[in-house]
């Protein structure tokens, strides 16, 4: 497709009071690309992701989704923009008082104004994609962590987002459940979803990432293919980080 990036972060800054968490982030994620973000704790990875749907308000810079600056516009535009950006959290954040099916239909019905039949059909389709169609009537508390995270992915996908953001989607999971979530993400990538993933699953990055970005101290320190970044890191900071985690 076109060269225009689906997600473009330009000169992004974020301060919390006096502390400067993001200094000057520039990042482009092309259509259908999977960009994988690594970096030490506190380097600002989550903050960057959260700026991409304005769960955090950027202090400066611009974020473009499919060519539109999401930092401009009214509250109404903001809610519409958020529909285009799916987000998956470390802690799943399913709604515990709603069934799996209702978790997935809620935003479809209230934000997208889909009617009930359409929303449920879409929810079942997404549940099928993540291999959980048989759990539609279950409560979130009855599911394993891996299943909950796959439902959370289905909930985001049901809104037909243009970009999916993942913030450490497998960090809260027991090791034996990680694979099922990574498989769903891999399938998603193969189907052409644009994805920005913060994770420590280096094996997944080698297998599925188009590019790897190493962040430290609120800036992008190094960027390249998985072979480049993992195989021959150019900067001392990346080398030190990678030797610690692998």
């Amino acid at each position: 497709m076109s060269d225009r990036p689906m997600l473009e972060i330009a000169a992004l800054q974020k301060r919390f009071g006096e502390t400067e968490v993001l200094r000057d982030i520039n990042l482009r994620v092309g259509q259908g690309e999977l960009v994988f973000v690594i970096g030490p704790s506190g380097s600002g990875k989550s903050t960057m992701l959260r700026c991409c749907n304005r769960l955090e308000e950027p202090s400066g810079g611009a974020i473009m989704i499919d060519g539109r600056n999401i930092c401009a516009g009214t509250t109404r535009d903001l809610n519409r923009m958020r529909l285009q950006v799916g987000m998956v959290f470390q802690g799943f954040n399913l709604y515990p008082h709603l069934s799996v099916l209702k978790n997935i239909t809620l935003a479809q019905r209230k934000a997208l104004k889909r009617d009930r039949a359409e929303a449920e059909a879409k929810a079942m389709e997404m549940l099928g994609r993540v291999g959980l169609a048989h759990k539609a009537q279950a409560w979130p508390a009855e599911l394993s962590g891996g299943q909950q995270q796959r439902v959370a992915i289905a909930r985001a996908l049901a809104l037909d987002p243009k970009v999916m953001l993942f913030d450490e989607p497998t960090s809260a999971l027991d090791p034996e459940l990680v694979g099922s979530v990574l498989k769903v993400m891999k399938d998603l990538r193969d189907e052409g979803m644009t994805m920005l993933v913060v994770s420590h699953e280096m094996g997944f990055a080698r297998e599925a990432a188009d590019r790897v970005v190493f962040m430290d101290g609120g800036v992008v320190v190094e960027e390249g293919t998985p072979e480049e970044v993992f195989g021959a890191p150019k900067t001392e900071r990346a080398r030190a980080f990678l030797s610690r985690v692998s």
Binding site: F89, N93, A107
Partner: protein, 221 residues
Amino acid sequence: MDLFLDQFFNLDVMARALPFLLQGLWMTAKICAAVILLGLVGGFFLALGCLSPRRWLRWPAVVVTDFFRALPPLVLLIFVYSGLPFAGIQVSPFAAVVIAFFLNNSSYYGEVYRAGIESIPRGQWEAARSTGLTQAQTIGYVILPQAVRNVLPDLLSNTIEVVKLTSLASVVSLGELLYSANMARSLTYNASPIMLAALIYLVLLWPLVRLVSRFQRGLAA
């Protein structure tokens, strides 16, 4: 002993007083309905105010909540009924009771709601907002249902307090249950109507009190 039964549990007097007391009970029910409904709504908005990031909203909400929780409800009632006329504002006994207890009770419900809303993890807000739900939709469909479930015993306790509170309305001669019982006592020169009123309160509230205890044990388990 006979004298005691005759004075406090005189079935004949009770039977004669009963229709009168039932009228009073009806008035009590009307006050409760008004105060509970208004209080649940007012308390909800007070809680939202207290939790607002906007200082000009939060600050007045906190002051109002604290003020009406600190002020004894009887003082408030007498002020509304007998004090406001000095400012040219005259309200009926019923209106005075509803206004005073609404203000008192909104503050208590408000604190309960606030605790409930604060018990919901931030991730729930973030998940909802990230899927394009508005703030109001997030509160209505995601936060409030969970918050209310978490504080159901406290909401119920507070509601029991409201029912008991209505007996104060007798001081402004509003014909609720206690006032009717007291009237019947002075007409019959017999304390049995008071005992009957007490019995009615107990029969109504005991099951609710039990329910609260059950809930609390359920939550602890």
